[in-house]
C-alpha cells in the first residue's frame, strides 16, 4: 500500500490547498487517516528535514511545507484520536516567559508532529508552571524556545525547576541558543535548527518503542 505520491509531493512543495483536496478525497473513498499520515505526510516532512540538514532546502521551504502539512493534519487529527493511533511519544513545547517569538517554535512543533509525536504547543510567554502542567498532563520532554538573548536566561530557571524530576527531559533551542549554553544550564538536549529536532528528541527519550 502506500504512499500517495501526489500527497507526498504536495506536502513537500508546500501546496496547502492541494494537500487539503487530496486528503479530503482519500478520506471520502475510505482510506484510513493514519495511513495518509504515516505513509505520505510523515515521510514527506521527514525527507524534507533530512534535506534541510544537508543544506538542500532552507527555512522558507520548511515553513511553507509545514503549513501545508498542518492543513492536512487539521483534517485528520480529530479522526486520529478516535482510531486509537499511538504516538511515538509526547512532548510539550513553548517559547519562554518574556518572549513572543513563535514562528520557529511552530516549525519545530510541526517537525515533531510530522515524526509522529503528540505535541502540546503551549504557545508563547510560557512560565514554569505551564511546563509543569504539561508534564502532569503527560509530556515526557519539555522543549524550550527563546529568540532573544534577554529572555534566554529563563531557560535556566525552567531547567532548575525540573531538576528533581529526572524523568522529564529538557531540550532547548532558538537563534541565540548554542550547544554550549545548553550544556551550561544542564539541558538534556539541544537542536541547532528545526531539521535536527526530531533526532535530538529521539536520542534524549531513547528511540520510541
Amino acid at each position: 500500500m502506500a504512499r500517495n505520491d501526489a500527497l507526498y509531493v504536495a506536502v513537500g512543495q508546500g501546496r496547502r490547498e492541494e494537500v487539503k483536496k487530496i486528503v479530503d478525497a482519500e478520506i471520502s473513498i475510505g482510506v484510513e487517516p493514519v495511513t495518509l499520515l504515516m505513509e505520505s505526510m510523515v515521510p514527506a516532512m521527514r525527507d524534507l528535514g533530512e534535506r534541510f540538514a544537508r543544506n538542500e532546502v532552507y527555512v522558507p521551504e520548511m515553513l511553507i511545507a509545514a503549513r501545508a502539512m498542518q492543513a492536512g493534519l487539521d483534517i485528520i487529527d480529530p479522526m486520529m484520536s478516535e482510531s486509537g493511533h499511538k504516538p511515538a511519544g509526547c512532548v510539550c513545547i513553548g517559547t519562554v516567559k518574556g518572549d513572543l517569538h513563535d514562528i520557529g517554535k511552530n516549525l519545530v512543533a510541526m517537525m515533531l508532529k510530522g515524526a509522529g509525536y503528540k505535541v502540546m504547543d503551549l504557545g508563547v510567554d510560557c512560565s514554569v508552571e505551564k511546563f509543569q502542567q504539561a508534564v502532569e498532563d503527560g509530556a515526557q520532554a519539555v522543549l524550550l524556545s527563546a529568540l532573544l538573548t534577554t529572555t534566554m536566561p529563563y531557560m535556566k530557571q525552567v531547567v532548575e525547576h525540573f531538576r528533581d524530576q529526572p524523568t522529564v527531559k529538557l531540550l532547548v533551542g532558538g537563534a541565540p541558543v548554542t550547544w554550549e549554553y545548553a550544556r551550561e544550564i544542564g539541558a538534556h538536549g539541544y537542536a541547532d535548527n528545526a531539521g535536527e529536532v526530531v533526532n535530538a528528541v529521539e536520542s534524549v527519550l531513547g528511540v520510541a518503542g
Binding site: 543544506n55 513572543l100 511552530n106 534577554t150
Partner: protein, 616 residues
C-alpha cells in the same frame, strides 16, 4: 603574554591577561579597530588577519604556525596560545569613511520655520547712585517680565564679565522661547554678529549622524557621521540590552556613545566650522528607545522582555554638561519622545518630518534599518509595529555584505544578455554588497530565471552562465551565485551569495511584508487604498522601488505615490531644534500610535509564510 599588531598606522601591542585570548578582543584592547561586521560569528571574514609563528586555536581547533610562515585567520574565531605577531591588512580595519546619509526632505513646502532660539535686544538703564541694586537686578529689569522673579542663572551672570555695562545701554539677549516658556541663555555685546548654533543628531544602532545648524536661519553648516562605537561592546539591540545588565555594562555602553561617539562627532563639527563647543546652545537627539535609554544612563532591561515597557518614553531636558557633553553652559539636551520600547524617537521624528499625523486619508510609513518599523496612518489614527527584520538589509549576516562605502555594490540590473550589470559607489572595485544591491539581487535573479519562488537557485542555469559557485562550509556544500567575479573586486575574490543567505534575505523581507499586511488588516484597509507610501531611513533612499515590490518587500504602490523622506529621524531632530511648537507636536505624536505586537496577531504567521515567497 604580549600580542603585537602591525597595521598600516604602525604597531600596537596588547597584553593578554589569563582570561581573554580571543584575537579580536585583544585587538580592541590594543586600539586596533577591526571590522566585526557579522558580530563575531566568523561569517563575513571582515576581520581576517595574518598571524605569525606560534600556537593558536582557530574555530576551536589547534593550529601551529611554523617559523618563517604566516596563516590567514578570522580574528573573531581565533585564540592565541602564546606571544605572537599579527599583521592587520587595511581592508580589515573599520572604515571611518562610511557613507551615512544625512540628507532629508521635509514635507513642508515653505521655508523652514525657525524661532525657537532667538536673539533680541534689551536696554539696560545706567546705574543710579540713589538706588541700592545690583548689576544682575538691573539686567533683569531690562529683560522685562520674561526674566521672571528669581535671580538669573549663575553662568549667565558670570559671562557678563567682559561686557561693558557700566553706563547702561543696549545688550543682546539669547533666549529660547516656546509658547509660554522662556529660557534665558546668554547676554552679549549688542553688536555681536556670531550665529546661534545648535546640533541635531540621528542616533542609530549602527551609525550616528550629526548636523550643525544655524538656529536663526536653519542653514546646515556641517554634517558628520560615524559608527556608534557601542558596536564594539555589543552588536545589535538585543545584545546591548543584555550587555547593559552585566556589571558595569550600562556605564560602558553610555560612555561608548557619549565619549567615543558623540563628543568626537561634535568636535569634528566644530573644527569644520571654526567654532568652539561653548557656542553650541542646544542639542537634539532622535533614536530608537534602547539607544536613547543607554545615552541617558537608563537601563533598557525591561525592553528586553514582555511587555517590553521602557523606563521612560519622554525624557526631561537635561543639562548637556550633566550628560558629559560639554557645550554652552546653559545648553540642554532634548530627546525626541519614544512611542514604545521598540518604536523610538526616530519614528516619532519620521512622522513629524512627513507631517503624517496631520494628513487625511490612509498612509504607510516604512523605516527600514537595523530594525524595521512600520506606521499606518488614517485620519489621525496611527498603528505602529516593529518588524525586527534583522541585519540582512544593512549588509549584516551576509558573507559579502557591507555598509555603504566607496566600492560597495549598490546596483544590480538585469541585462538582455541574460546576465546583470554591477555598479559600485564611486565606481571603485567591489568591496561587497550593500543594502540596495541586496534587494536588487533576488529581483534580478527572479527576472532572469535563476531563482525559484522559494529562493532555490537553478544550478544548471547558473552553471551555464558561469555564475554558479559551490561553497563548502562545515563539510556541507551550499549552492551560491557569483554576483561579482573576483577580477572586479578589491580582494580578487568572487563575491558570492549562497542559497542560505538568500533564505535570510527572504526571511527579512517576509517580516516587513507581514507587518504591512497585519497593520492593513487591523485598520481594515487594502493596499490599493494607500494614498502614499513614505520610505524613511538612509538605505530606503537608494532602493530601486520596482525591485522592492517585485520581491514582495514593499507593497505595490504606484511610483508617484511613493515619497522618500531620507533621514527622517534627523529631520525631526532638526525641526525640534528650530521650530517653536515642534517639541509639543512630537510629544503629541508619541502618544498617538497604537502599538501592535505582531507576534500576537493571528494572521501574522500566515502573512509571514506567504511573504517568504518571491513572486507574491
Amino acid at each position: 603574554m604580549t600580542v603585537r599588531f602591525i597595521t598600516v598606522d604602525g604597531e600596537r601591542t596588547a597584553v593578554s591577561a589569563d582570561g581573554d585570548r580571543r584575537l579580536d578582543r585583544l585587538a580592541q584592547a590594543a586600539g586596533v579597530r577591526l571590522n566585526l561586521r557579522c558580530g563575531g560569528r566568523g561569517v563575513c571574514m571582515g576581520c581576517r588577519v595574518r598571524v605569525g609563528p606560534g600556537s593558536y586555536r582557530v574555530e576551536g581547533l589547534e593550529q601551529e604556525v611554523p617559523d618563517g610562515e604566516t596563516l590567514e585567520v578570522p580574528a573573531c574565531r581565533t585564540e592565541v596560545c602564546g606571544p605572537c605577531r599579527v599583521e592587520v591588512p587595511r581592508g580589515s580595519l573599520l572604515s571611518d569613511t562610511i557613507q551615512v546619509d544625512g540628507r532629508f526632505y521635509l514635507s513642508c513646502a515653505a521655508q523652514q520655520e525657525t524661532g525657537l532660539f532667538r536673539r533680541t535686544t534689551c536696554e539696560m538703564s545706567p546705574p543710579d547712585e540713589e538706588m541700592i541694586t545690583s548689576t544682575e537686578e538691573r539686567l533683569r529689569l531690562a529683560l522685562g517680565p520674561k526674566a521672571g522673579e528669581d535671580a538669573l542663572p549663575l553662568s549667565l551672570v558670570r559671562a557678563l564679565k567682559g561686557i561693558d555695562h557700566s553706563g547702561g545701554g543696549p545688550l543682546q539677549v539669547l533666549g529660547e522661547r516656546d509658547g509660554d516658556r522662556h529660557r534665558l541663555l546668554e547676554v552679549r555685546e549688542a553688536g555681536n554678529g556670531d550665529p546661534l548654533w545648535g546640533v541635531a543628531v540621528d542616533l542609530g544602532t549602527t551609525t550616528v549622524v550629526a548636523v550643525l545648524v544655524d538656529l536663526e536661519t536653519g542653514h546646515i553648516a556641517g554634517e558628520v557621521s560615524g559608527y556608534n562605537r557601542q558596536i564594539e561592546v555589543a552588536d545589535d539591540v538585543a545584545a546591548r540590552i543584555t550587555a547593559s545588565t552585566e556589571a558595569g555594562g550600562l556605564e560602558k555602553l553610555r560612555r561608548a556613545f557619549i565619549e567615543l561617539t558623540l563628543n568626537p562627532l561634535i568636535d569634528r563639527l566644530c573644527a569644520g566650522a571654526g567654532i568652539e563647543r561653548s557656542s553650541i546652545l542646544a542639542l537634539t537627539v532622535a533614536g530608537n528607545t534602547v539607544m536613547q535609554h543607554l545615552m541617558m544612563g537608563l537601563s533598557p532591561e525591561t525592553i528586553g522582555h514582555v511587555p517590553f515597557e521602557p523606563l521612560m518614553r519622554e525624557y526631561p531636558e537635561t543639562s548637556a554638561a550633566v550628560l558629559g557633553v560639554p557645550l554652552h553652559a546653559q545648553a540642554l539636551v532634548y530627546l525626541v519622545p519614544a512611542i514604545s520600547g521598540y518604536i523610538g524617537g526616530d519614528l516619532t521624528a519620521d512622522i513629524l518630518a512627513a507631517d503624517l499625523h496631520e494628513r487625511s486619508g490612509v498612509h504607510l510609513l516604512v523605516d527600514i534599518g537595523t530594525n524595521g518599523e512600520i506606521v499606518l496612518v488614517e485620519d489621525g489614527t496611527l498603528w505602529a509595529a516593529s518588524a525586527a527584520a534583522g541585519p540582512a538589509f544593512e549588509g549584516g549576516g551576509l558573507r559579502c555584505g557591507c555598509r555603504a562605502q566607496p566600492g560597495a555594490v549598490e546596483r544590480l540590473r538585469a541585462l538582455p544578455t541574460g546576465g546583470w550589470s554591477v555598479a559600485t559607489i564611486e565606481d571603485r572595485l567591489a568591496v561587497g554588497l550593500c543594502g540596495s544591491a541586496i534587494i536588487d539581487l533576488p529581483a534580478v535573479l527572479l527576472e532572469l530565471g535563476f531563482i525559484g519562488a522559494t529562493g532555490r537557485l537553478d544550478r544548471e542555469a547558473l552553471a551555464r552562465h558561469g555564475r554558479l559557485s559551490i561553497v563548502v562550509e562545515g563539510g556541507l556544500e551550499e549552492a551560491g551565485v557569483c554576483v561579482v567575479p573576483g577580477e572586479e573586486t578589491v580582494r580578487g575574490i568572487d563575491l558570492v551569495v549562497t542559497e542560505r543567505e538568500l533564505a535570510e534575505i527572504l526571511k527579512a523581507k517576509a517580516a516587513l511584508h507581514a507587518a504591512v499586511v497585519v497593520l492593513l488588516q487591523r485598520a481594515g484597509r487594502r493596499v490599493e487604498e494607500l494614498e502614499s507610501l513614505v520610505l524613511a531611513g538612509g538605505f530606503a533612499q537608494y532602493i530601486h522601488l520596482p525591485h522592492a515590490v517585485r520581491i514582495g518587500l514593499l507593497p505595490a504602490v504606484p511610483e508617484h505615490r511613493v515619497e522618500r523622506l531620507g533621514n527622517g529621524s534627523l529631520a525631526g531632530s532638526y525641526r525640534a531644534l528650530l521650530e517653536p511648537g515642534a517639541r509639543a507636536a512630537l510629544r503629541g505624536i508619541s502618544r498617538m500610535p497604537r502599538t501592535v505586537h505582531l507576534n500576537r496577531q493571528p494572521g501574522f504567521q500566515d502573512a509571514f509564510i506567504d511573504g517568504l515567497m518571491l513572486d507574491t
